[in-house]
Symmetry: C2
Subunit: 423 residues, 2 copies
């Protein structure tokens, strides 16, 4: 359920897709086994059987695989970045995965090094030359060098998603002129691939799993407060980014010029605690990070520190760019579905901050249980009804004194979007 | 119990002290209530009563307070830094706390701003002027500004400990010439103050609480692997620190020149997953972070990323300094003793990596329970006997094939030191 319908302008966008990742065509026009010519390729029966059992789509594992995808994009300063990201991010993830089609379907460890000019896809992995050709390799699982890290399939998918966010952000930058894209957006994406959920979050949206009544956080929020030290560290190393207007130090409130020489509490990029320092001229500048909770801002401008877009964002009335302090990189958490028995009431909930600002984890879990109980376990509507109920409750009801929740607190004035995904 | 006695040279050092934090004398020679003149000062009876009940020392709260202190210093490349830190770090903590004597004993919130020239100590806090003198303040607990952060007493102690580590490191730098100090050290310190334990860790030592059989981690280790992204980020922003010898990228193994043009797995400062990149000339440099587990190194030189000292440490045979990549800042975790009922078997265990490399949390908890059971609960020796047993077991027994543990695995070849502190 996307948006509560409170406003004319909807800056929340969403996407839900099943995406086929097709093995990249072989370079140099080589014919690849199983592609076009009807030759029998290397079918990885293990993978195919696995998906049979789970009732997922059938496909020819020689050509590629599917992933399932859900994502929320919470736009700010316009919906342009959110709309573009909702139409493209899954394609960037697909693009990153295309090089990994064979590697991810091969149960042996991913090769550390691939041969020249080869894309990972069409090469028979057993033919990948060892980096040191004359070294004896008793077993694929044994590292080939004294010091060689073992890299898992899972961490390749994580890397692919991380790089997809980067490419998405680059594309928004490139096309923002011609497409007249404005603003930026937080992005929260869930990818289901080969038995695992990969939940990638850049911003202040939030994902939780509710399993047997237990709440499992699947993301953390990136805000000026949670990322204070990273931002202060960057400002400390690159003071020119602050444009003589800001200080990298944090103070508990604004300092007034008449307070020069007094001692005030501060924190620098290294500290989590507070200490007193004598106020100097430099400290009268505006703090890089200022405010608390939902009011915390980077350079008095933006309240989230990760997401896509915002390439033109500047401090109001100045030429100071904010983008260097923002990161498009998500944190990716992995949930292995095969490790647990799931029942029809176990769900993954994705929500924008419009939900979480007024409804906490426990309340969400309560609504999930309450609504699911009122539908038959095999009724496909029941998950949508949970999402609708979560959105409606967080919006509240319009009364004389504004939109009010059941507990008479103020409802969310923000866009509210929710996915409820059965596990 | 300090060190297993395996080597002639002991690079582990330790300190255990009760430290009195005396209020700093008033500036400008003012007479302070209760100091010298026999005037009746502002006795904070609440604090005094509290310590009566706990059976701790009595003191005149007008003049200061005590803290209890235990610390381990695991030296490397010489014991100089470890010895100096063991003799001085608690004095630096004391020095930082001296400005806070009155503030910490006042139950109202710490003032955000102190008047000119005043040290926090001797000023009657009720006389501290409000930052905005004309604003009405109904209650001390209400923030005086629309945006004013609430800073807790606890976070002032954390800030004091953080700054004490910084000053300790500065002192080692200043005196390393005259004192002929060599090397550096990890530092793990536990401060007990006003009902709370503050556990500060910079390095790869480790602290856990064992309470009613449950294990509560009180620190995390700072190593090239756990701090990879911070170090890569610094190297990315300041490539000159790498001296043309190193690359900020991580690869799973060394790349050979003949592999130019092939694709290899890598991670940059933004990634936790891995992806393939085409190998370029630049990638043939040695990686900033290289190796796994106990063999992971920063610039092929050092295996810990936080601690004191190491100001002269350079990459072997080069002029590249390591210190910019090291941090002297500890992570401070707080444990509130008043929140739980503790029994005589509940302890805080501090250990250097000599212990933790061969004995995991669960084994340590097992030894704690086993040894404590064999002594009367009021026998003061019982905690020392636990520490001794932990050290002896981790050292192992000298057999034909070297020092062996009970399970015939290799014992720790490192210095091993342990504090067992009853809660």
């Amino acid at each position: 359920v996307i948006n509560a319908g409170k406003s004319q302008h909807n800056e929340d966008q969403a996407c839900c897709e099943v995406v086929f990742v097709e093995r990249r065509p072989s370079p140099r026009g080589q014919l690849v086994p199983g592609e076009g010519g009807g030759e029998s390729g290397r079918v990885r029966a293990g993978v195919a059987r696995k998906h049979d059992r789970e009732g997922a789509q059938q496909w020819d594992v020689r050509k590629g695989f599917y992933f399932h995808y859900w994502a929320l994009f919470d736009g700010h300063a316009g919906s342009g970045a959110a709309i573009m990201a909702s139409k493209r991010l899954h394609l960037h993830i697909c693009e990153q995965l295309r090089d990994l089609v064979d590697i991810l379907q091969d149960p042996s460890l991913p090769p550390i090094c691939l041969p020249r000019d080869a894309r990972a896809g069409p090469v028979e992995l057993s033919q990948v030359p060892l980096a040191e050709d004359d070294e004896e390799v008793p077993n694929d699982a044994v590292p080939r060098f004294h010091l060689e890290k073992v890299v898992s399939h899972e961490s390749l998918v994580v890397g692919a998603i991380e790089n997809a966010f980067k490419h998405m952000d680059d594309q928004i930058e490139e096309e923002r002129g011609s497409q007249r894209l404005s603003g930026g957006c937080c992005a929260l994406a869930a990818v289901y691939l080969m038995g695992k959920f990969y939940v990638a979050n850049a911003g202040d949206s939030r994902a939780i799993i509710i399993r047997n009544g237990e709440i499992i956080p699947m993301s953390r929020e990136f805000t000026p407060e949670t990322e204070r030290q990273r931002l202060q560290f960057l400002a400390f190393l690159r003071p020119e980014l602050l444009g003589k207007e800001f200080t990298h130090l944090e103070f508990p409130r604004r300092i007034q010029p008449k307070e020069l020489g007094k001692k005030m509490l501060y924190r620098d990029q290294n500290m989590t605690g507070w200490a007193y320092k004598k106020i100097e001229e430099e400290d009268l500048k505006f703090p890089l990070i200022y405010g608390e909770g939902k009011k915390a801002r980077v350079m008095a401008t933006i309240g989230v520190t990760r997401g896509l877009g915002d390439h033109d964002l500047k401090v109001f009335g100045s030429n100071i760019h904010i983008k260097p302090f923002l990161s498009c990189l998500p944190e990716v958490r992995v949930y292995d579905l095969t490790q647990y028995e799931h029942c029809p009431d176990d769900v993954l909930v994705l929500g924008t901050d419009g939900l979480w600002d007024v409804t906490d984890d426990k309340e969400v879990a309560g609504v999930v249980m309450e609504v699911l109980m009122s539908y038959e376990p095999n009724d496909p509507c029941r998950y949508t009804m949970v999402a609708r109920e979560l959105v409606v409750r967080s919006r509240g009801v319009l009364k004389e004194r504004g939109w009010r929740l059941a507990n008479d607190k103020l409802g969310s004035g923000d866009d509210i979007s929710v996915f409820v995904i059965p596990l």
